[in-house]
């Protein structure tokens, strides 16, 4: 019995507690990201944004959540019920499990695996299923078109994202996310030497998370609402939460790969007093602000322009950068051992 407790139950309790410690702040962050989005876009468009519920409208996300919770879940008659229900759950779960390998601070990581980067690529590659399943199961042409578009879009941008990540991996010499951050502690943040790739990566994650200006799957002007047009109440809320959790996850990946994770900007006194997780959160917020800024600034891409950008601009550029990085590292004998 003692064995069972020591070997199985106690580690299980610890792991569940750790998971809750990640997921609960994450959900809070998702709620307040929607609030921040409305405030930031409001400020950019000279409006006030939500300001009625609670002080400065701070309780607005909670009111929105309660509203979605109380609505009726409608399943269309022609829909494929199991797939229709499974799709939002899948989207939400995938947006959460990616966090298992993200290092928040030195040693603060749920699962410190050797293939962390590949795991994240795999998870973000699976994200397309939620959307494509929702599009098909809704049995509606707008939803279906949205699902097909997003499948093509996410598969295309994943390829250039993979190549961008390869140049970072070449410089760091490891697939472990904590070690990638450590490698930046000894040198500079990879956003500096790989600056063009950093820009490409940020644009790619906009496309990967289906955010403006690449939000074609839900282009409301042509597709009504895209893949989630038939969803209501909590099923819709799960898509919504999944999309925002994915935004935060992708920003966290960008921070770990390019902005030195939990490291302070300069390794000296006033900066090192601040704990690493604060730096991490600040950097994630900076990238998230770019998400919101882009949404308030740019018009939506046309579908063929989106494909052209992905395949004819990003793919050759990132491939050339991989060759260049490898060449420079070999020529200067700087390959990580």
């Amino acid at each position: 019995m003692a064995d069972l407790w020591n070997d199985v139950l106690w580690p299980l309790i610890i792991i569940i507690a750790q998971i809750l410690l990640i997921v609960l702040p994450l959900l809070l962050a998702v709620a307040y990201l929607t609030y921040a989005e409305r405030k930031v876009i409001g400020a950019m468009q000279l409006r006030k944004g939500p300001n009625v519920v609670g002080p400065f409208g701070l309780l607005q996300p909670i009111a929105d959540g309660a509203k979605l919770f109380l609505k009726e879940t409608i399943i269309p008659t022609g829909a494929d019920r199991p797939v229709f229900i499974l799709a939002p759950m899948l989207t939400f779960i995938l947006a959460l499990i990616g966090w298992a390998v993200i290092p928040f601070d030195e040693g603060w990581v749920l699962s410190d695996i050797n293939v962390g980067v590949l795991y994240l690529l795999a998870i973000s590659g699976l994200g397309v299923y939620g959307i494509i399943m929702a599009g098909w199961a809704s049995n509606s042409k707008y939803a279906f078109l949205g699902g097909l578009r997003s499948a093509a879009q996410m598969v295309s941008y994943e390829i250039s994202m993979g190549l961008i990540i390869i140049s970072v991996l070449l410089t760091a010499g490891t697939l472990n996310l904590s070690e990638i951050v450590q490698a930046q502690a000894n040198g500079v943040w990879y956003a500096l030497p790989h600056f063009p790739m950093f820009v490409l990566f940020v644009v790619s994650i906009l496309a990967e998370t289906n955010r403006a200006p690449f939000d074609l799957p839900e282009a409301e002007a042509e597709l009504v609402g895209g893949y989630n047009v038939e969803y209501s109440a909590m099923t819709f809320a799960l898509f919504f939460l999944g999309e925002y959790a994915n935004m935060i996850l992708m920003s966290a990946i960008a921070v770990v790969l390019f902005l030195g994770g939990w490291l302070p900007p300069l390794d000296m006194a006033p900066f090192t007093w601040v704990p690493g997780i604060i730096w991490f959160a600040l950097k994630v917020c900076a990238i998230l602000f770019v998400f919101l800024w882009a949404r308030a600034t740019f018009p939506r891409y046309r579908y063929d322009q989106l494909m052209r950008l992905g395949w004819k601009v990003f793919l050759p550029l990132s491939l050339a950068w991989v060759v260049l990085t490898a060449g420079v590292l070999v020529a200067f004998d700087a390959l990580p051992q």
């Binding site: 399943m133 097909l148 994943e158």
Partner: protein, 203 residues
């Protein structure tokens, strides 16, 4: 104990979902079960310590190949009643094929021996597993000993890609295409004419 339990979980779900791929009448559900089967295969790889291969299975098969399957299958216009027609007609032929395959597999297994070298390699892998990570060990093998084979397989894929493009790419003169360079070179002076209009004067 946990290890064994996870193994049986992955194995059971994997086999069941593989069976469901065949038994399902709806092809889209079939592809979804297939994805579950791939996923469980990846889980089994992780249990064996082949984490790199596991992730590649998910990235390549689940993340890309199965998406394209799903893409194609979803577009099929299937008449579900029509699928039942002719079942009795094809049954004997299908059953015969299945029996032949099963007999072949059984014969193969009765006469199955592993080469001694392969067994020795399995017992003691050349770069010791505890010293190098998966990724390193694979990289060291693929890019040194098997570099020519690796390059040749890359060339094969390239040929397949070029072939697919040649087969499907058609240019018809009636299609008007977008010329990006022309669009980028368009200047404001060519298309916009700013006039200062006198109040109540009109143009």
């Amino acid at each position: 104990m946990i290890h064994a339990l996870t193994f049986y979980l992955f194995a059971l779900v994997g086999v069941l979902s593989a069976v469901m791929v065949v038994l399902n009448r709806n092809p889209v559900h079939g592809v979804l079960w297939l994805i579950l089967a791939f996923f469980n295969a990846a889980g089994l790889f992780v249990l064996m310590g082949a984490e790199f291969i596991a992730m590649l299975v998910v990235v390549v098969y689940v993340g890309a190949v199965a998406v394209l399957f799903l893409f194609v299958v979803m577009m099929l216009d299937i008449n579900f009643l029509g699928l039942r027609e002719g079942f009795l007609k094809y049954m004997p032929f299908g059953a015969a094929l299945a029996v032949i395959l099963a007999v072949e597999v059984v014969i193969l297994f009765l006469d199955w021996t592993l080469a001694g070298e392969a067994m020795a390699l399995r017992a003691a892998p050349i770069p010791d597993v505890s010293q190098v990570s998966n990724t390193e060990a694979l990289g060291n093998l693929i890019y040194t000993q098997y570099v020519y084979l690796f390059q040749v397989s890359g060339l094969l894929l390239l040929v397949a890609m070029v072939g697919a493009i040649v087969l499907t790419h058609r240019t018809s003169p009636s299609v008007r295409r977008q010329r990006i360079a022309d669009q980028v070179h368009r200047r404001r002076e060519q298309v916009l004419d700013v006039k200062s209009v006198r109040s109540r004067g009109g143009i």
